[in-house]
Each structure stands twice: as C-alpha cells, then as structure tokens.
Amino acid sequence: MNAIETHGLTKTYGDFTLGPLDLTLPSGCIMGLVGENGAGKSTTIRLLPGMTRPDGGAATVLGVPAGPDMREVKQQVGVVLDDVGYPGSLTATQMGKVLAAAYKNWDQALFEKYLRDLSIPTDKKFSALSRGNKMKLGIAGALSHNARLLILDEPTGGLDPVVRDQVVDILSEFTRDPSRSILISSHIVSDLEKLCDYIAFLHKGRLLLCQEKDRLLEEYGILQCDRAFLDSLPPEAVLGRRLTPYSVEALVRRDAAPAGAALRPVTIEELFVLLVKGDK
C-alpha cells in the first residue's frame, strides 16, 4: 500500500492554482517536496490530512480518502506545520498532556526523551520559545505516537546546523521500520538530499518532476563547456543553463548528451535551480 497517493489534486486561491498534482509515496519511503516560496508546498501538505479541501482530484492517506472521514487514520499520522500551531500559552509539558489525550498510542516516555535529547524547555510558554524550539517541540509531538506517516512542512527551518543534523538523524531512524513513511518539504535541499528516497519539484503550483532521488542523479548531469558546444547540443538534451561571462553550465540528460561530453554529477539543489531558473 502507498502511504500517500494524489490524483489530479487541485486547489485554487485567488490567482494561484496548485496542481493537478499526481504524487505517489510508497510505504517505507521518504519524499522531499522542493519548491520556491509560494510554489504550493504548504498547500499540498494541508490538503493531505484534510486541513484544506481540494477543488478537484482526490488524495488518499494510508489508503483512506483525504477529507472529513480521516479521524481514525489521523491516529497514525504525525503533522508538523511550518508555524507548528500549538496554543501560545501552553508549555511543552501541557502540550504533551493534550497530545496524550488525542492519540491512543501516545508514548509519554518517548516524548520526554525527545524533550531531553532536543533540549526543549518544558516550563516555558510555547509563545515564548524560539522558532527552533517551537519546531523541535512540534517534531517531538509528531514523533511520539507511533505514527506510520509523518507530514512535515519545513521542519528544519530555523534550526541550527547541529540540531538540524540531529533531526535528520531522528527522521532517518523513524523510517527504519519499513511501514513508516515521511513527506517532508524544505528549503534546505541538502537536508532532503541526505534524507529522501523520492524528490518532487513544485514550481508555481505545478509538479515539474517526481522521481526517485538516485534515478534523478543518474539521469541528469552538469555539463561545463563553451557556448559554441552548448549551442550544438540538441535542445531536448538541455533542461536548463547558467551562462556567466566566465563559464557555461548546463543541466543535461545524460542519455541525450553527446558521447565524450564531460559531465559532472548534479546535486538536487542545482537540479532544481536550473530547472526553474535555467535560461533554456
């Protein structure tokens, strides 16, 4: 069973339209959602647990259609929003009690362990916590009820590199159990590169690409060459280019590149930037 499936999912806010979105996240895998601000990452994440109603298409979460009848399946889903969204006057301890009342499988000992390991103050009001501590508390809350699926919106945003690394490790550990999956959006593409099995690129509400990370890295490469050589390439081989007075770099399909062309491996960040901004 797939953890998440969307078919033709659309949502319109004013002049912005997300989709149609066709995504599949197999169980046991981690999918990273990459996109610039306003690309539709948060909207996608809110559509899945039924926090926002779609205008068209359908989504399933752990086999259950997303919408008002997700009450039971939400027991198995952990969500972290970009602004977390816990009540401002509650402390971490109180929030633990609230979440314990919400989830049948709440593991208080695990929650307290995360509070300790992530150095989250337990007696400060949520509104008085730093952005990093708010996010850490959100992650601790989402991880402490034995969820089978985590849906995380920018969970590493605002965290310092050490804690970010710690969070990435916790998330990697979470998916050791093959029945667990994660959908995660982030601006910090290096985190996604470390973590994800699948990468989905969103740009202005459209899904540019959704593929296994390793296949993306195998299929595409960066060609460094001169302008004349670049112009000689078949247009379908070049997905994006970066021209400076000193160099020419192009994102190319390895299978369409001429034999003998010197290609270097592409990073996910380069892939995204060149796909979106590369002057074709």
Partner: protein, 215 residues
C-alpha cells in the same frame, strides 16, 4: 475532543487568571450592595461577570486563530464539529460556574431576608438568559467569518442590550414588571426553553458554517 477541551482549559487557566479575581470582587460587591440596600449593584456586577464568562468561548477561539491552533487541531484525530462543540461546552462550563455562584448568592440573600425570593429567582433567570444569548448570537458568525468580525457583532449586541436595559434602570424596570405577572412561572419556563433552543440552534449553525469555512 478531550484533547481540545484540555487545551482550552489550559489556555483559559493561564490567559484569564485575572477573571477569577474579578468574579470574587464582583461577588463581594453584590453581597455588600444587597445587604446595604444598594440593589442596583446587586444586578450590575453579576450581569457584567456573566457576560465576561459567556465570552470565554469567543476569547479562546480568538487565541486559537492567533496561534493557528484552530488549523493544527485538524491534523489531530478530531473534526471541525469537535472544535465547535468544545467552545460551546467550555462557554457553558465557565458561564455555568459563574451563574451558579450568583444564584447561590441570591438564594442566601433571600434566605437571610435581604432580597425577595421572587426577585432572586427573576435575577437568576435574567443572568441565565443574558449569559446564553450572548454566545448563541456571537459564536456562529465567529466560526463563519473569524473572531475579529464575530467580536464586532458581539460588541454591537452588548451596546443594544445596554441601551435597552441600563444597569440601574433595567433593574428597576424588571422589579416593576414583577414576577407575579408571570403566572405559575410559565413565562420563565417558556423563556428558558426558547433560550435553550436558541443555544442549541446556534451550536448546530456554528458546526455547519465552520465545516464550510476555508482556514
């Protein structure tokens, strides 16, 4: 729903500590003014306290919207009906406690001869009606259009009520109306039934509107 209720109780406890102090002061003033014969204050402070208590659901909804808890709560295993119901239950709980307190005060004052029993009964019913009307009218628009617009409607309603009653004049007018004009308490019973129906209808309307709202 238990989780939402617990979150609301924690928020109410930390955000409205001053309210408990105000109620205590209002209770003392009510007793003092009734014993000394200044009956107007015996109604003004209870009404004010009841209206504040009946705003609890609205105040909590406003806090939820400010922290985006109203959005996050939908990721929990509960639905929008639970979110609405929680606010109505918390309102009834807070308002109910304050109403019980002042009803008990009126009963003691009547028992000690500082107030007529009919007046005590009438004032208690008046508090009940006022305390339930305010959230019944204000909560549906708050759930439909958000707390800011809902609060404007609430304030407009208070202005209308204040204009109609006025603390002192209202109390005097109510005394002039006199409970004996209400045969066998039928009017009181009808009024209570009406207000209960209004509250229940408001609850159902809030659920319906909130389920349609785009957050």
């Amino acid at each position: 729903m238990k989780a939402l209720f617990l979150a609301d109780l924690y928020q109410a406890k930390t955000s409205f500590k001053f309210y408990g102090v105000f109620i205590a002061v209002a209770a003392v003033i009510t007793v003092g003014s009734s014993v000394s014969g200044e009956g107007n204050l015996g109604l003004f402070f209870p009404i004010y306290s009841i209206l504040m208590a009946s705003m609890m659901g609205m105040s909590l909804l406003q806090l939820d919207e400010a922290s985006r808890w109203n959005l996050y709560a939908q990721a929990l295993p509960c639905d929008r009906r639970d979110q609405v119901s929680c606010k109505y239950v918390v309102t009834m709980l807070c308002f109910g406690l304050v109403w019980l307190l002042f009803t008990a005060i009126y009963a003691v004052l009547a028992l000690l001869g500082y107030m007529a029993w009919v007046q005590a009964l009438f004032q208690s019913v008046l508090l009940l009606v006022m305390g339930l009307i305010a959230p019944a009218i204000s909560l549906p628009p708050m759930f439909r259009w958000g707390s800011a617009k809902g609060r404007i409607i609430y304030i407009a309603m208070i202005v209308v009520l204040a204009a109609g009653l006025g603390a002192g004049a209202g109390a005097a007018a109510l005394n002039e109306l006199g409970v004996p004009a209400l045969p066998g308490g039928i009017w009181i019973a009808l009024g209570l039934l009406l207000i209960a129906a209004l509250y229940a209808g408001s609850w159902a309307l809030s659920v319906r509107w909130y389920e349609k709202r785009e957050l």
